[in-house]
């Protein structure tokens, strides 16, 4: 359960469910941009859904296995493969033999941005402020608070492999129920924020700009002019908040957002659509759809229920397709 990093890739970090209790210290939330795929990757290898895993963006790392292990892959297809060997598709568990090199060159067919690689027991890095996530802004968490680089070593957790026998099997997680939209125009469902301006936001066809990372996404499109006030006194903000700065080009906050901000927040992406938000690439077309709170929670409830149900189905391998359909958003 050990890999050595030969090449770190573009922006590869260790992330888990995030640092939820330190916002009052100015600490970003961090964590996986796509928590659904993090959970799928982890559950494929019998780890806790929110255990620490490798998050790769657009171009992933190249890793050599020091011993025989299994990995769980989920999220975008970044062209993962064993060097001079078989393909490593997402949504599956794969066995990697000692000495094999795996790579994620980013030439996959996917329109999504991020993939997750999990090891049994979660990746073993120190917990800081309740999380193993990499905090890039302050340089702590994960591996020395920075993206992976050549020479780093990734180890699975000691507490892993509770069901070792099952890990021998090749298993497949079903099609992600909430992802069908991400190849063309992505719909992000929103609820109103504390500042007015939802209607103007919904009316415009947006495109993700080049400034797109874990901190946030800048949107290009017809700038919002009227109905959006100037700066407010800084208040705490949250993942998925849509801020409108004076230039009228919205910013959707990502997991690494600063804890406070002074721009008006006109809407917030629903919790259930955070995984979709975390998969947007520069250039992606985005529209917003305002929905009711009750609907937002119904989708979230189905999504949350699909994870343990999926994990159970991995063990029993029964009726999984049907389950996935019923979890659709």
């Amino acid at each position: 359960m050990t890999f050595e990093v030969l090449d770190g890739g573009l922006a590869t970090t260790i992330q888990d469910g995030g640092r939820l209790d330190s916002g009052h210290l100015g600490v970003p939330r961090s964590g996986a941009c796509d928590p659904w795929s993090l959970a799928v990757a982890n559950l494929l290898v019998g780890a806790d859904a929110m255990a620490a895993a490798v998050e790769m963006t657009l171009v992933g790392p190249t890793l050599v296995a020091r011993d025989s292990t299994v990995i769980g892959l989920a999220g975008a297809d970044l062209g993962g493969r064993v060097v001079e060997g078989r393909r490593l598709a997402p949504g599956r568990r794969h066995r990697i033999a000692a000495g094999e090199t795996i790579t994620f060159p980013g030439d996959g067919p996917d329109h999504r941005a991020r993939a997750y690689l999990a090891l049994p027991g979660g990746i073993d890095v120190p917990e800081i402020l309740g999380s193993r996530s990499t905090c890039l802004a302050a340089g702590f968490g994960g591996i020395e608070g920075r993206p992976l680089q050549a020479g780093d070593v990734l180890r699975g957790g000691a507490a892993g492999m509770p069901r070792a026998a099952n890990l021998e099997d090749e298993v497949v997680w079903p099609a992600d129920p909430l992802r069908d939209a991400t190849t063309g125009q992505t719909i992000l469902r929103i609820l109103p924020g504390p500042a007015p301006g939802v209607d103007a936001l919904v009316a415009v066809r947006w495109r993700v700009g080049r400034e797109a990372d874990r901190v946030g996404l800048r949107l290009d499109g017809q700038p919002l002019a009227d109905g959006v006030a100037g700066e407010t006194v800084s208040h705490a903000v949250a993942w998925g908040a849509i801020q409108v700065p004076p230039d009228g080009r919205p910013i959707i906050l990502g997991v690494d957002h600063q804890t406070t901000g002074g721009y008006p927040v006109v809407a917030v992406v629903i919790s259930a659509d955070r995984p979709v938000l975390g998969q947007l690439r520069p250039g992606a077309e985005v529209r917003f759809q305002a929905i009711e709170r009750g609907e937002a929670l119904a989708v979230l409830r189905r999504q949350q229920a699909a994870l343990p149900a999926g994990a159970a189905a991995l063990l029993h391998a029964t009726r999984w397709d049907e389950l996935a359909r019923s979890a659709g958003g």
């Binding site: 970003p28 208040h235 949350q304």
Partner: protein, 220 residues
């Protein structure tokens, strides 16, 4: 209840107490956040409250708690005593040693000129005041300090620096503060400290915490 409570998506409420920078509002926001945090014991799914200048964000798990239940908790918290930790005046200030001016404080002369002061006057004024941590935000361990003498109130730089060294002491509007990490920033830099504002190897990584009293001591 005082303040306006508005939904912030499906997983948070934002309590807004006012629309301007005011140390009293910040103190009130802190007290409310503390009271909300005390309610977390009995309310699984209630997140850690994040106070700011004049507001408190209250995150929660929407599948565990109804907004009405969170509203009730916030209502109770707004009625809580103002400063559970004791009056501000009785706190012993945390002393931060600062080298003012020169390469450590490249904007000191400009700030002095703006106010028709000598650089040494700026140092005397800045080091002569006692500050209070209004809240932490912007970056890990970044404390917004209230209590800047009126004669030192200075706008941010027109063009932010792409990199401000860790420990830099700056002024922005009515606030002063210390950059805990090297990062981009637009505050007017008047000095620098060796004190580690943020250190994850400490039990409490943030040197300055909401409500703390702070004094700057010239180090040269």
């Amino acid at each position: 209840m005082s303040g306006r409570l508005a939904p912030f998506g499906d997983a948070a409420l934002l309590l807004t107490l006012g629309d301007h920078v005011d140390p009293d509002l910040a103190a009130r926001a802190q007290a409310i956040a503390t009271a909300i945090d005390e309610a977390r014991r009995d309310a699984p799914g209630l997140g850690r409250a994040v106070p700011a200048h004049a507001s408190v964000l209250v995150p929660f798990d929407p599948l565990a708690l109804e907004p009405e239940a969170v509203t009730a908790i916030v209502r109770r918290a707004t009625g809580a005593p103002r400063t559970p930790a004791g009056p501000f005046d009785e706190r012993i200030p945390i002393e931060v040693a600062v080298r003012y001016g020169g390469a450590d404080g490249p904007d000191l002369d400009e700030v002095a000129a703006l106010h028709d002061l000598r650089p040494s006057d700026v140092v005397d004024l800045h080091a002569g005041a006692e500050y209070r941590v209004l809240f932490l935000g912007f970056a890990p361990g970044f404390a917004y300090l209230g209590g800047l003498p009126a004669r030192l109130v200075t706008p941010r730089r027109a063009t932010p620096r792409t990199r401000v060294p860790a420990g830099s002491v700056g002024i922005a509007g009515e606030q002063t503060g210390v950059y805990p990490l090297a990062m981009p920033g637009g505050w007017q830099l008047i000095g620098r400290t060796e004190a580690r504002l943020w250190d994850v190897t400490r039990r409490s990584p943030a040197l300055l915490r909401p409500g703390d009293a702070v004094r700057f001591v010239p180090a040269r």
